[in-house]
């Protein structure tokens, strides 16, 4: 299997840019204690990630219909979001009102959802040959 496709790399780049912008505006919003800046940046981040996933996921499927129930894209999002957040603190870009414990809590809770997704992904393996769904193999 080639789990890292061109579309996944493009999605990862879009996710890095989106997560970094989100972190910047989140820190700014917390710093000036503005609920609207925080809310708007979170909403824009969610929309950007959804659109990127939709676009690059579609492109990925058109190239090769890898049957992974979206797990590779979810895992990439999880990894990038949490690494960007951790680095934000490590590099000292965070607001003085922010606590790194919040980042870890998000990583743990989201990680549990990711684990459930991974279990679903493993269970779908029986319907696949070389990671392509049996029904998608022959046209």
């Amino acid at each position: 299997m080639k789990p890292i496709t061109h579309s996944l790399i493009k999605f990862a780049i879009a996710a890095i840019v989106s997560a970094t912008l989100f972190r910047y505006f989140l820190t700014y919003g917390i710093e000036i204690k503005s609920g609207s800046v925080i809310g708007i940046s979170a909403s824009i981040y969610a929309i950007l990630m959804f659109l990127s996933g939709w676009n690059f996921g579609k492109e990925d499927k058109e190239y090769l219909p890898v049957y992974d129930v979206g797990f590779r894209f979810h895992f990439t999002t999880y990894l990038i979001h949490n690494v960007v957040s951790e680095l934000w603190f490590v590099l000292g870009f965070n607001s003085k009102y922010e606590n790194i414990a919040a980042i870890h809590t998000v990583a743990i809770i989201w990680g549990l959802f990711l684990l459930v997704h991974f279990i679903v992904f493993l269970r779908t393996r029986k319907n696949a040959i070389n990671n392509l769904h049996k029904e998608d193999l022959f046209d």
Binding site: L64, N130, L132, L137, D139
Partner: protein, 128 residues
Amino acid sequence: MYEQKLKELLSAWEETYKKGQLTFWIFLALQEGEKYVDEIKEFVETKSMGVITCEEQSLYRALRKYEHIGVLTYEQRKGNKGPERKYYYFTDLGQELFALFVQRNIQLFYSEEIRNLLKFQTNEANNA
């Protein structure tokens, strides 16, 4: 009215029948020898007398899948003229898969009984 209905029914049946046919025709093209995409397309459309048509994009997508599951592979080289092309051919797995498929699904049409029935159908169609 009758003719129109016949035409519509035939079209509907063919739409269903054609699903899954592209793989067979691609493999049949490669059974003749290694080919690049344009040659496969030409083979499929000519030998099926235009019944099976395929967009180049669908063909590329199908070939990528067959390569991914290990039934086909390719060699990249220059044709007589023009750019480098991917010449596709069967792997051992693909060759055996195609042979088994033909044995189980196609060769039964060559039995005496079935051939006679099909001959009868052909005569009916010619008389109609």
